[in-house]
């Protein structure tokens, strides 16, 4: 098995909404491989959501958290942690709950470790004063890939789980959060927010509100929101959508015209105890905060298929329509193209076809 080593900095930054407003956030920034004397250049450059963390089942994952401090709130000396949400049998030391283990003060490092055994879609987030730090943006996606992709006969193909029935051609992340801009404004201005008054006015897919959701990954005008939520596929392709809800509201989403086959929930393949396929066909996906779902569809004929929250109040930006949790599935015609080589080395192809992350973010898991 391989080793995945990452280093994330915890700091602050700003996100932009399509109505021209800017909002203060806390968050993570990938500083893997950055020389020690240069890490502080990443202060104030948090991204929303946090960088995608991906590993293979059985990998040794070492995630170093470095608390870079908050240049926008120099008075605030909060510690941070990483909680990998959903990893079974974790021990408290690496579970990231400061009340029952450790937290990382400003200027310090700590290494979190786990060897994932179950493929699927997870999430990670800071658990220090979580009501504030999660809403402020310290949330990220976590994907564990199945070992079947390394098995003879399957190498070079992509699967959600260790099950040939979960094969796919492209995958996209749909990461659901909300933002109450009053809370962000008060935190930026060293004021208290009463969290029981939480009432969001922006609803986000991959950290962006529509129409920014359909802008390309790495769009220059959205420096802190590098992940697109546009789903671009070709007719006939099998598409895996990895849904994560890390907001504080329950969300229902659907794709107009495309039913979904839910093959996994909370990083577990939906199988009966005797291996029966318990996949569900759904027009809508209903996710509570802290849940994930893996859904596969086969792209229909070319066209534009809206993907949106069916809680329609959430298709707005601070009250204006359209906005919020809306994006598009754009299906283009089939293209005659050479068969992909089945002999491609494993570990070379991550998110290569159908990637809603910017090119510079496409990292390859390290398998020495």
């Amino acid at each position: 098995m391989g080793t995945v080593s990452r280093r994330y900095g915890a700091t602050d930054g700003f996100v932009m909404m399509p109505d021209g407003t800017t909002h203060y956030i806390f968050g993570f920034v990938d500083i893997t491989g950055v020389p020690e004397h240069m890490i502080f250049e990443s202060r104030g450059r948090a991204q929303l959501p946090a960088p995608l963390l991906e590993a293979y089942e059985g990998d040794d994952v070492y995630l170093t958290l470095t608390n870079l401090g908050m240049p926008g709130r120099p008075d605030l000396d909060d510690a941070h942690t990483i909680h990998w949400h959903g990893f079974p049998n974790q021990i408290p030391l690496w579970d990231g709950v400061p009340e029952v283990s450790l937290s990382v003060p400003v200027g310090r490092d700590f290494v979190y470790y786990y060897r994932p055994r179950d493929p699927g879609t997870y999430m990670y987030h800071c658990h220090f004063e979580p009501v504030e730090h999660i809403q402020m943006g310290m949330v990220g996606p976590l994907v564990v890939r199945p070992l079947i992709e390394k098995a003879p006969g399957y190498a070079g193909r992509k699967f959600a789980y260790n099950d040939p029935a979960t094969e796919f051609d492209r995958e996209y992340l749909i990461f659901l959060t909300e933002m109450d801009s009053r809370a962000h404004h008060l935190v930026a201005n060293v004021q208290e927010f009463d969290w029981t008054e939480y009432r969001p006015n922006y609803w986000l897919l991959n950290g962006r509100a529509y129409p920014d959701t359909v802008k390309p990954a790495g769009a220059a005008e959205l420096p802190a929101q590098p992940y697109s939520a546009l789903v671009s596929v070709r007719t006939g392709e099998r598409v895996l959508l990895r849904f994560v809800n890390l907001g504080y509201q329950q969300h229902t989403v659907q794709i107009l015209g495309i039913p979904l086959r839910v093959v996994g929930e909370d990083a577990r393949r939906l199988l009966g105890v005797h291996g029966e396929d318990l996949s569900r066909r759904r027009n809508t996906l209903y996710l509570a905060p802290g849940q994930t779902a893996d859904a596969i569809f086969t792209a229909p004929e070319p066209g534009v298929y809206p993907l949106y929250s069916t809680n329609f109040h959430r298709n707005t930006n601070d009250g204006s329509s359209f906005g919020g949790m809306v994006t598009e599935v754009r299906v283009s015609p089939r293209r005659a193209r050479p068969e992909r080589s089945r002999a491609r080395p494993v570990g070379r192809r991550r998110w290569s076809h159908g990637d809603n992350r910017p090119v510079g973010e496409r990292r390859v898991p390290q398998h020495p």
Binding site: L102, V131, G272, A288, Q291
Partner: protein, 386 residues
């Protein structure tokens, strides 16, 4: 045959931030205090149950409904909705009139499982005011002395457990409760919860034992305790008016029952989740087990534990950490930090993942949050229901 007497009374709840909130609750004796939730009722499948309700509220009728039980009879006939003289619905079932009225319900639970019992009289007000509780129905073949028959749903249903806990979710808007206490109306459109509860308590009180003297109206704790590898049955019941996603750290839960129904229909439909959405009025039976990653002082962790002076331990002045990565070991805790760790046990948070619900009126930590504690060894008397 089981006979249960419940008195409806009022009282004041305590919250960890020092608030005192008027509420209505059930009491198990004429001299006892009102409590929230009402007494945990544990009965047996197939055995007739009679619940006698005595209502001491001066102005309000009160009834109890038993969702999932049918038929429920009153005076030898089916319980039926009650209307006032103008024909307006007052109660979903026969009620006890105000000021010492009495009513008696009889039913025979057909199926094992976890159920709610709650007021059926103006429940928009009476249930958030605290008139709710949970009913556990043991399978007919239940035998706590035989592991194969110590089950949630009966022999051969793969629902064996070593310990069990009952957690009931709720939420409180103190302004509305106190308005009722002052004889004013209960304005539902202004309902905005400031407290979210497990077994009527807010964190950190949720982690205290049952029946602590300073919480006379909130007798039940919510600390889930067990040993590595044990099957811990967590019965979750959603008694309030909102839905709550409950996330246990440490492991997935195996969801074995919903609304008092074994998840099996032709095939095994149980599944594993890391977050369970408890809808208002729903119940879920979950089996939690934690086995760990195998690290011991002889098989040490693969990371270096830095000097504790370089890390945050007990930022709030207290910690539940042992100071060691290993189960059953204790390590150094910085001077000035109070440790609530007893002998190297592990703690995993169990909480609502709508994170504003783990505050007490906006202040973390609080609300709908508790811990799962894994001890190196634990008395078998811990984690039992009556």
């Amino acid at each position: 045959m089981a006979t249960i007497d419940l008195w409806v009374k009022d009282g004041y709840l305590s919250t960890p931030d020092g608030n005192s909130i008027y509420f209505w609750g059930f009491s198990a004796s004429p001299d006892g205090r009102a409590q929230v939730p009402g007494p945990h009722l544990v009965v047996r499948q197939g055995e007739q149950v009679t619940v006698n309700l005595m209502n001491t509220l001066p102005l309000e009728p009160v009834s109890i409904v038993f969702p999932g039980q049918w038929p429920v009879s009153v005076d030898g006939r089916l319980a039926r909705p009650q209307y006032d003289q103008a024909g307006n619905l007052v109660s979903f079932a026969d009620h006890a009139p105000p000021d010492r009225g009495v009513i008696s319900y009889t039913f025979t639970p057909e199926r094992p499982g976890t159920f709610l019992y709650e007021s059926g009289t103006h429940p928009h007000k009476q249930v958030p005011m605290g008139l709710y509780g949970a009913l556990v129905v043991r399978p007919a073949d239940y035998d706590p002395g035989d592991p194969a028959h110590k089950t949630a749903y009966g022999f051969g249903t793969d629902t064996e457990f070593d310990r069990e806990y009952l957690l009931i979710t709720g939420e409180i808007d103190p302004e509305l409760n106190n308005a009722v206490g002052e004889g004013r109306p209960y304005p539902v459109p202004r309902f905005r919860p400031r407290y979210w509860t497990l077994n009527g308590r807010c964190a950190p009180d949720t982690m205290l034992p049952d029946r602590v003297p300073h919480l006379p109206h909130q007798p039940y704790g919510s600390m889930v305790m067990g040993q590595p590898g044990e099957k811990i049955l967590i019965r979750l019941a959603g008694a309030g008016v909102d839905n709550h996603p409950v996330h246990p750290h440490g492991n997935h839960v195996r969801v074995v029952g919903a609304d008092g129904r074994l998840l099996r229909g032709g095939t095994d439909l149980s599944g594993r989740r890391f977050t369970v959405l408890v809808g208002a009025g729903q119940t879920w039976d979950l089996v939690f087990s934690w086995t760990g990653l195998g690290f011991t002082p002889e098989n040490p962790i693969p990371t270096v534990l830095p000097n504790r002076r370089n890390l945050g331990v007990g930022d709030a002045g207290w910690t539940m950490w042992s100071g060691s990565p290993y189960l059953g070991q204790k390590g150094d805790i910085p001077v000035g930090v109070v440790s609530f760790n007893e002998f190297g046990e592990y703690y995993f948070m169990l909480h609502a993942h709508e994170e504003h619900k783990i505050t007490n009126w906006g202040e973390f930590p609080g609300g709908m949050m508790s811990m799962v504690a894994i001890y190196p060894s634990l008395s078998p008397a811990v984690g039992t229901l009556p």
